[in-house]
């Protein structure tokens, strides 16, 4: 039997899928308004207006959920949708009279309306225990637990500026940079299963993967294996993906860390990477209450203290890191002082001190 050749069609053309008003006014928008949380109105040069209703989803969706979202689109929203990068769904309608019934239908079906403007949007997240081969924790579960806690901040849009969150199930940080990121932090070097290394791992590749050159080939119990200089190892887990016998995950020593101040927009200051502010939190399914409490504390402190249009990092740069730790009640430790390459530029080379 001859095999079917794939059609290498690549990324599909969105044009036939666009709402007709978006297609008609493509590249000709001139204005948008935010009449209420979860609703946007865009106006084109032609005078056409399109109304968008944004709702949160669980990202990991069963076909019945997707069909429900489609039913709502067919019944209330002209049959077109789009997804945002944070897995929110957007319905576009030409007639403003359709907005309220659409919101009612989504609400009735359990999808929160919000995520626009100064809200805490849905969390960008990874695969976790559901599908990843190297996860330190879950992803969908952490996200569900946190969004339950932050639901009001999603639907109300009362933050000083928009807030982007992410979670990542290992230090590789596939969830990405964010105003607040919840990321696994390993605290112990990997435990090596020497019986398996020779058969499973390409040893030179594993040696090359280590950022601090802490791994070297060794004979253990007469078998070719690897050994780790535990004084050098900073427990990043980079050796684990190419060599699963380098077991970095542990039910107790795998911890959760919280990072703040990442921003990819160029608005105001240049883009920034998030920075470590808390660690040592337990990896505590199914609801990770300790990590959630720290995230909430940071968010509420920011909400109360930041000025309008200040993103998390704008606020912290104004008040200073010392006062960030003071106001949030988070302890400042020696682990907050960077010692990776380029770290000196993170030190205070001035007498600019806040008292």
């Amino acid at each position: 039997m001859s095999m079917r050749q794939p059609i290498e069609s690549g990324a599909p053309d969105p044009m036939p899928l666009l709402h007709p008003l978006l297609r008609k006014n493509y590249g000709k928008w001139i204005y948008h308004d935010h009449p209420r949380p979860g609703v946007l109105m865009h106006r084109a040069a032609s005078g056409d207006e399109v109304w968008t209703v944004k709702a949160g989803t669980q990202r990991q969706m069963d076909v019945h959920t997707v069909r429900k979202l489609c039913d709502i689109a067919d019944q209330f929203a002209d049959g077109h949708v789009r997804f945002t990068t944070r897995s929110n769904i957007e319905y576009m309608v030409a007639d403003p009279a359709k907005v309220d019934p659409l919101i009612a239908a989504l609400t009735e079906a359990g999808f929160p309306i919000g995520g626009t403007a100064n809200s805490v949007s849905m969390i960008a997240h990874t695969q976790g225990w559901l599908h990843c081969d190297i996860p330190g924790t879950d992803a969908s579960g952490v996200t569900k637990a946190l969004m339950d806690e932050l639901h009001q901040e999603f639907v109300k849009c009362e933050m000083p500026n928009r807030v982007k969150l992410s979670t990542s199930c290992c230090e590789i940080n596939c969830g990405g940079q964010a105003d607040i990121a919840v990321i696994v932090q390993y605290t112990k070097p990997p435990k090596i299963n020497h019986d398996l290394v020779a058969n499973v791992c390409e040893r030179p590749a594993v040696v090359a993967r280590c950022p601090v050159a802490a791994i070297r080939p060794a004979l253990v119990n007469g078998k070719p294996s690897l050994e780790i200089d535990e004084k050098k190892c900073m427990c990043c887990g980079a050796c684990y993906p190419p060599c699963p016998p380098m077991q970095i995950n542990d039910p107790d020593t795998t911890k959760i860390a919280i990072w703040v101040g990442g921003k990819n927009s160029n608005a105001r200051g240049k883009p920034t990477f998030h920075k470590l502010v808390a660690s040592g939190l337990p990896n505590n399914p199914p609801r990770w209450p300790e990590a959630a409490a720290v995230v909430k504390k940071i968010l509420l402190t920011y909400k109360a203290d930041a000025r309008s249009w200040e993103r998390m990092i704008d606020w912290i740069e104004r008040i200073g890191w010392g006062r960030f730790f003071e106001k949030t009640g988070l302890p400042f430790t020696k682990y907050h002082i960077d010692d990776w390459r380029g770290a000196r530029r993170t030190l205070n080379a001035s007498t600019h001190i806040r008292f």
């Binding site: 095999m3 290498e8 690549g10 990324a11 599909p12 077109h80 039910p251 608005a267």
Partner: protein
């Protein structure tokens, strides 16, 4: 009807609360799907033991070397048999979405039907690289599922050391800040290089991302090796109707605190009508606030951060000469630490067919350079780190530009015996530009 479900007390706790629950979705699928019954069994075990139980492997479709993420269970009993046999194979198909992630319901329903027929019925819209992730399928069903998706206009995405699936923002489809046709740029660049996606042979992964303006809604600067970010090089446009509407709704305090004071380069001033009119001209944009006051932007001081356009919606808009800034080298943590993309092309016009052709050529040149010069498991940002930006630019035939740096060199450790020749190049470029 599927087989009996396993007890999942920990997952059950994730059914409560106001946010939509993925667990409720898994349970709905498990009603008539043995794979999902056992998937829930394994996931519950992970919740209890706090360990993951998947390993990779090799699963693919005919003609392609990537795009399927194989997952085999490692949760086995004392005889080496899977504890949850119906989820022993739980692979993912990564599928490229339409640029901008637009769908009509007919298409979405078709995707659901295909996945219900061949796979688990669980779909993620979308993964962190933008793929539609069809999660949960047995090895022997992968080809059929792909064939049917493929016949319906969808193609596999990237995995491994390959060109990866790309993302573009909503852009021209529904945003007044869009500076080019993001969906077109994505499709021109990605679909021109599908061989690198479907038959992985690069030193490591390579990602392109396309954002329509400096707000960078798809996070291209941090998440892509080649970031294409919309911008403009002439004066900001103004729309007096909307700038007046902003001022009348917000007043002077908001204007000062939220607009003028937040400009990172102090390019904005408030002026009286007469003074502003005198300024209006080659480098200033003047927006009316009321009958007497004007917002005046010195476009030579402006760095296109886009903050004031975000605040004075519709009143301030990108200029007419639109295009992109291209930055190379953004990436996540492994192995040198996170790094941002940095500028290699300050401005490339992106309007005509020829302009898009040039973008495609540059993208291809960067991919070729990466393929030939990067070390194994090295991202292009790390290559640039290793060889220096100048060597990278010279290899691509790009000219140096002060917009590529935050500040000039701060040490004398450089051999400068080619100085006069470099000065001559600079002078000649200036003459050509004049």
């Amino acid at each position: 009807m599927a087989k009996k479900t396993h007890d999942t007390p920990m997952l059950d706790e994730l059914e409560g609360g106001p946010w939509p629950s993925f667990v409720t979705g898994l349970k709905r699928l498990a009603k008539d799907n043995d794979m999902m019954v056992d998937l829930m069994g394994q996931l519950e075990t992970s919740y209890r033991t706090r360990k993951g139980y998947w390993k990779g492997g090799t699963v693919g479709v005919f003609g392609y070397g990537g795009g399927v993420i194989p997952r085999f269970t490692e949760l086995k009993d004392e005889n080496g048999k899977p504890v949850y046999p119906d989820a022993a194979e739980f692979h993912t198909l990564r599928v490229q979405p339409p640029a901008g992630m637009h769908y009509d319901t007919k298409t979405l329903r078709k995707l659901c039907d295909i996945w219900e027929k061949h796979g688990s019925g669980l779909i993620a819209f979308h993964g962190q690289s933008g793929d539609i992730m069809f999660q949960g399928i047995r090895t022997d069903k992968v080809q059929d599922a792909f064939d049917e998706l493929n016949e319906n206009g969808f193609d596999l995405g990237g995995a491994g050391p390959a060109l990866r699936t790309s993302m573009s923002c909503v852009g021209a489809a529904r945003c007044e800040l869009s500076c080019y046709d993001e969906a077109r740029a994505l499709r021109e660049v990605i679909n021109n290089n599908l061989d690198e996606m479907h038959r992985p042979a690069l030193p490591y992964k390579f990602k392109f991302k396309f954002s329509g303006c400096p707000n960078d809604c798809v996070n291209s600067i941090q998440r892509s090796d080649f970031a294409t970010i919309g911008t403009w090089r002439d004066n900001m446009q103004v729309n007096h109707q909307y700038s007046r509407a902003y001022f009348s709704a917000h007043g002077m305090t908001d204007l000062v605190n939220d607009v003028v004071a937040r400009c990172p380069t102090k390019a904005i001033q408030v002026m009286k009508r007469g003074e502003a009119d005198a300024k209006a001209g080659p480098q200033h944009s003047v927006a009316e606030l009321d009958d007497e006051l004007r917002l005046v932007i010195d476009n030579k001081d402006c760095v296109r951060c886009t903050h004031c356009l975000n605040v004075v919606r519709g009143g301030l808009l990108p200029g007419k000469q639109r295009g992109v800034t291209i930055l190379v080298g953004g990436k996540g943590v492994l192995k040198i630490g996170s790094s941002m993309g940095t500028v290699i092309v300050p401005f490339m016009k992106l309007e005509t067919d020829e302009d898009y052709e040039k973008l495609k050529e540059l993208a291809r040149s960067v991919l070729d350079f990466f393929a030939e010069n990067a070390l194994e498991h090295e991202r292009v940002g790390e290559t640039v780190d290793r060889i220096g930006l100048v060597n990278f630019l010279e290899a691509l035939g790009l000219d140096v530009d002060p917009n590529m740096i935050s500040e000039p060199r701060g040490n004398p450790y450089v051999r400068t015996d080619g100085w006069d020749a470099e000065v001559a190049k600079w002078q000649s470029r200036k003459k050509d530009a004049a």
